[in-house]
Symmetry: none
Subunit: 356 residues, 2 copies
């Protein structure tokens, strides 16, 4: 299996070939996910459990907080299965969790869960009610003090309705050119519902507000914390792979806006973004264009992986544009690629999880 | 390849997934192995060479102290082949040896052999003549001062007739409920011979003796030293996997008795036992029941590995209950499982060692 370059040169990823990584999963709940029809990243009515179940399945291949793994209403299983499959074939050196607002704590022992006293955020059409400055500071400090025994870290996320809050964040920060570039867990973005939510959210902000005031209303903890984390990590030499799609791109837009306001600089050569083929080739979003809106350059990659050889019709829905990305699936697949895994063994492993 | 849980939760092993381990092989000779028909863990008349040959083969895939690897009289090769196969496919970070009474030192350079001035112990039907208190102290100190660059350590053993001394140890310490639970290197435990040896050994102890007096007569250096090692390691945060069957369970029973007598406590969350499927499913022994006799809880696992797909009739004897475990084969297989090895590649590698 190979990886392909979306932006920049392949050197960053080639340098990481064969090196073991720590996998850091940012887990957060925004009550935006409770809005009917806005996301399919979980069980309707139980979206708030998705980060908990993703954390459990990734760590121990078992869901303890529900009877079964989270699937969409169409039965598409979480991309977390892909990440877990990679972990079984080419294990990460370490998996740790960032509690950026679990509704329910995952029931796992031994694994490090970093707690920051962060609560789930509110639905953005009623104001997220985040203390964005405080959350950003927590991320910044975590980054400044970050120590890892691994050569680099893969940062992923699980937050249902996160593409909606990502788009709201980008719009609130003034990236109007990105309006059509954000993805969705649905093949067909539920634009009517999403636009209504975005309109209500953006109606609450105005240009007299500073960045953090805006983020407090329209964003989510994952974006705000990780913007801080990325900037905090600048004081170290540690390399970071952002594993995600347009949500991780929104984290970078936030970093970009903070730097512009505060006049700072970033050495983005320590940083890259990795995503799935489904995001890279998505007709309804454009991650490359979002990344090109940044004032700094960043390398981006995707893994040459799909379910075309699978026997499972439900997995093949990924190839049709459902689900696409999450739980760092794209970053995990690139990790698998640079550690010598084959596409076939990953497909087989994912199939084994759903009993195919 | 997966691992299964015998006792406790899978979290401990899942946490270790992808992490590199040091493999520590306890090598010891008890002259109990010279009793005809008591063990098949080696060449009749040359049982005392088995730990030497196991150490050589594990380290360098070569036996230098004899012309050929140790096989049973039926030609079943040592489980050390499995451990070596794992080391070739998913190498340990480090292999070190504990000299708990080699008769003949292994002829290997570079590899660390920890020496403690410990001599082979006597046959237990004539009294083992161990200074158990001194051996225990040596283990304790080794544990207290143990430093490793690895994330955790796998502790294994090679000591022919070790299941007999293990059973004698359990009986002497008063675990009568465990009488039927100890395994043997034979499919059919040679009960007539073993019972006679046990009777003679246990006849030499009485209830006025303290634990160490009893151990001095009926036990072996591997059990006594490692009981100390486990307790010494409690002063560190290092995680330890006991790789073995009912012999390692006897080490834990010894730890349990020492704690009861001395009034200490153990944090067994840093500890687990890993064994083979052949021990886990053995009809003639019951490792789960032994572990349930402990006053503390301990997680235990076995690897989903057998030779059912092998072309070798001699290896298939393992599946029929011969040999079963030793040289940390079970722990090595679990290590292989959590580092992404497949059953097929291990079977093939073991076959290659015996020219299949």
């Amino acid at each position: 299996m190979n990886f392909n370059t979306i932006l920049g040169k392949k050197d960053f990823m080639e340098f990481l070939r064969g090196k073991k990584a720590t996998f850091l999963l940012s887990c957060s709940v925004t009550k935006t996910a409770d809005i009917e029809g806005i996301s399919q990243a979980g069980i309707p009515g139980k979206m708030h459990l998705t980060p908990t179940l993703d954390a459990e399945f990734l760590a121990i291949k078992e869901v303890r907080s529900l009877d079964d793994i989270a699937t969409t209403s169409k039965g598409i299983p979480t991309p977390g299965l892909i990440t877990r499959a990679v972990h079984e074939i080419k294990p990460f050196e370490n998996i740790e969790f960032l509690n950026l607002g679990f509704e329910v704590m995952p029931k796992i022992d031994y694994f490090k869960i970093h707690n920051f006293d962060i609560k789930p955020s509110n639905r953005i059409d009623e104001s997220a009610k985040i203390d964005a400055m405080a959350i950003f500071q927590k991320g910044l400090e975590f980054g400044q003090n970050y120590k890892s025994s691994s050569k680099y870290t893969i940062l992923a996320e699980t937050i249902p309705a996160g593409t909606t809050t990502a788009k709201a964040t980008a719009m609130a920060l003034g990236y109007e050119e990105c309006e059509e570039y954000f993805a969705s867990s649905f093949k067909k973005t539920p634009n009517a519902i999403r636009d209504k939510v975005l309109k209500s959210a953006l109606y609450k902000i105005d240009n007299s507000m500073d960045i953090f005031q805006k983020l407090s209303i329209v964003s989510d903890n994952m974006i705000v914390f990780n913007a801080g984390f990325i900037l905090g990590l600048q004081s170290t030499n540690h390399k970071l792979v952002l594993a995600g799609g347009t949500q991780m791109a929104a984290v970078l837009l936030t970093v970009n806006s903070i730097l512009k306001t505060m006049g700072g600089e970033i050495d983005s050569s320590k940083l890259a973004l990795c995503t799935t083929k489904w995001i890279a080739e998505d007709e309804n979003s454009n991650i490359e264009a979002i990344l090109k809106s940044l004032d700094f350059k960043i390398a981006a990659y995707y893994a040459e992986f799909d379910f075309s050889t699978s026997k499972s019709e439900v997995l093949k829905l990924y190839d049709k544009g459902e689900a696409k990305e999450g739980v760092g699936a794209g970053g995990a697949l690139v990790y698998a690629a640079i550690n010598g895994a084959s596409k076939g063994e990953i497909v087989k492993k994912v199939e084994s999880f759903i009993g195919v």
